[in-house]
Amino acid sequence: MARRTFSIGGVHPADSKISRGCKLEYLPIPPTVYIALSQHIGAPAKPVVTVGDKVKVGQVLAEPGGFMSAYIHSSVSGTVKSIGPRKDLSGNNQMVVEIAVEGDEWMENIDRSDTLVTDLPEDPKAIIEKIKLGGVVGLGGATFPTHVKLSPPPGKTCEMLIINGCECEPYLTSDFRTLLEKGEQVVIGTALIKKALGVAKATIAIEDNKLEAIEHINKVVDSLKSKGPEYSGIEVLSLMKKYPEGGEKQLIDAVMHRQVKSGGLPIDVGAVVDNVCTALAVYEAVQKNKPLIDNSVTVTGECFPKQANLIVRVGTPLNYVIDYLGGVPEAAAKVISGGPMMGKAIANLEAATMKGTGGLLFLTREQTKRMPESNCIRCGKCADACPMGLEPFLLNRLSKAGDMDALEANAVQDCIMCGCCLYSCPAGIPLLDTISQARGQVMGIMRARAAAAKAAAEAAKAAAEAANGSTGSPTVK
């Protein structure tokens, strides 16, 4: 049987999953945590605690600041020391709640036992409400508030839930370990999301470099079938290892053979995609009342002495994590939050982890150095690699020329910043650097145009209404 995968582009970087054998391990609680108020896509949360307040693990620190926002909970027990700006991993100021840790006292309603809870709540709305109250956001990278994703706009129906266990980034293994060690919880979480969406089918998609996980989850799915009708319709799908399979659009293509239109959402083609760690967080929030206060982080790199998959309290300073494992190695030249393809280079090691922090990767200068740029040899490898079917060589040229119209016509706004073009360019041309810059500009232009069109439409409507009013429209009684 042909191995299933997405249809356009993709690259095959070395797997480098050297931490795959490291079991999930709880990191000790740091003396101080810094919990950011904006750990999700959308409006920052509004703090509901003040300096000097005593908080417990799982207590609400901040409420959603809008429709697209999420609850933030305390990951430790202790005293709120300050609420103010602090530098994040890029060195930009972000509002954080600083908490000095005292003991480890949890909110009473949180079930901290290991007992599996397989009975699902009756009401789908109750599931979504608990997900919202648990502050669950997408842990695959985008940190999209999960309760918003599970409430499709009217007129849109979900046909399939896809649970993303691809972990296509090299080095990262926290999803893999979660599947192996918390497979039951992930599958129950899948059943919960499935029920919340009211969808009959769910597919847990795993790349075939994780055969143990595929085998294990298959067993778990079979064993849970007896627990109720909600557990039927869950399938495990093995996908061919290829980067960026875990990209939402690519995964929908691989699993459902459907493509999301440019500017559209997965729900437009009947899909909802959630990461395996999100499914675990959903399980914990709904079945155990445990909000999203910790998450798994792979700490790895050939030059790093101790590989690990750690469960880290949200807001733990990065250097606390690193020092626990022996400190930054001499040979390391770059520290990356996330994987080597899409991760972010860290400028500030004093920054704290967030809900979406999935990995800390150490690379040597040799591993990460960019080669000197030489002439484009028009080999087309960038276009072959682009999973969106774009032509990076062309976008690079247009970006340098500043031709915004041509950039938009050639779909620069569809770029998902996966890095395949730059990775595969034999001439070392910094394609993604120029393309992402152009992408930002073009998206700005498109937003401004949409806003202007909306304003014009509203003005026209108001004018029409005013005209109708003055002539005494017969429809107005």
């Binding site: 028009r378 080999c379 969106m388 079917g389």
Partner: protein, 331 residues
């Protein structure tokens, strides 16, 4: 913490890079040409070795001198592209070509066809082919006199024409194709195993195909351009041959003679001068195949691959404008 902040590198993603660089790709092309080089040296002896040495060394020297002293930039010799041009040019010349003619070909290939456009990646026409065509037009005597191969240690070279040349000459004198094939004793096994006259690279079909398979297997090139050229030549010559076997040579003869295999495997697939998209590449290949046959059947030159590729090289910017990659979600 034992690392000072100023030591950390911060740059946008991706943070790793594929090991396939321009140098690796070009070196693979040279490796893929080695079977043809070895066969041509074994068949044509020390004269071919001399042609190869002069061609490769002059191409590399010219590349170095022009980048260093005209462009005033770092030398680009390390990318191996000059070596590729050198080997291809040599394989396109008869082993009897005098050294100074080979050198002039290199001057035209590197100096005119490649460097005047700005070096690797900038040229419109395949440098080695420009060099060959320049020599073909300027020195027809050297370029159309061939020796029947006598092997590496052979002494008594017999001069003669290539199969394509002999047939063309014969047809003009009123003979028919089957008679000419029989009177010259051409067989397909000769063509496959390098026993017919011709420029070095034309001589052994199998050696060229081995190199082609290597390039495809290593994913240096995609096979579509080559296959569309060979398919077009086979299909179109089949029509002519079936219509009039006395006047037109058969498909297998057309596939195995002349520079068709060398051209379609190594020159038409040159990244710089071929279309970026697969669709564009197939149109490009059909064009090359068709023009080659038209020149062979109706033109005054017995051989047309070089001209066909150069003509189609000029259409590449247009093909790149017309044919684009299939985009995600924009069907």
């Amino acid at each position: 913490m034992n690392m000072s902040m100023d030591k950390i590198l911060v740059s946008p993603n991706p943070h790793i890079h594929s090991a396939t660089t321009t140098k690796v790709l070009m070196r693979d092309v040279v490796i893929a040409l080695l079977p043809a080089v070895i066969v041509s040296v074994v068949v044509d002896g020390w004269k071919e070795m001399l042609v190869l040495a002069v061609s490769v060394l002059s191409c590399m020297a010219l590349e170095y001198l022009i980048t260093r002293y005209c462009f005033k930039k770092a030398s680009t010799l390390g990318d191996w592209s000059a070596a590729v041009t050198g080997v291809l040019l040599a394989l396109n010349l008869p082993p009897t070509t005098p050294w100074w003619v080979v050198f002039l070909g290199a001057v035209f290939a590197i100096g005119v066809a490649k460097m005047t456009f700005g070096g690797l990646g900038q040229n419109i026409f395949n440098p080695a082919l420009v060099g060959r065509v320049f020599l073909l037009i300027s020195f027809p005597t050297y370029m159309t006199h061939w020796e029947i191969p006598q092997g590496l240690f052979g002494v008594d070279a017999i001069s003669g024409a290539t199969p394509l040349g002999a047939i063309k000459e014969g047809l003009m004198q009123g003979a028919t194709v089957p008679d000419l094939m029989a009177s010259h004793g051409y067989t397909y096994s000769q063509m496959l195993f390098a026993n017919i006259g011709g420029s070095a690279g034309e001589a052994c079909a199998i050696a060229i195909l081995v190199g082609f398979i290597y390039l495809v297997a290593r994913k240096v090139i995609k096979p579509w351009i080559t296959l569309s050229i060979l398919g077009t030549v086979a299909a179109v010559s089949c029509i002519f041959w079936l219509a009039n076997p006395a006047q037109f040579t058969d498909p297998l003869f057309n596939l195995l003679t002349g520079g068709l295999l060398l051209g379609s495997c190594f020159m038409a697939t040159d990244y710089v001068t071929s279309p970026m998209s697969t669709k564009g590449g197939i149109i490009f290949g059909i064009g090359i195949g068709f023009i080659t046959l038209m020149i062979r059947y109706f033109g005054s030159y017995p051989e047309g691959v070089s001209f066909a590729i150069l003509i189609m090289n000029s259409t590449v910017p247009l093909l790149n404008n017309w044919f684009h990659q299939k985009k995600y979600g924009r069907a």
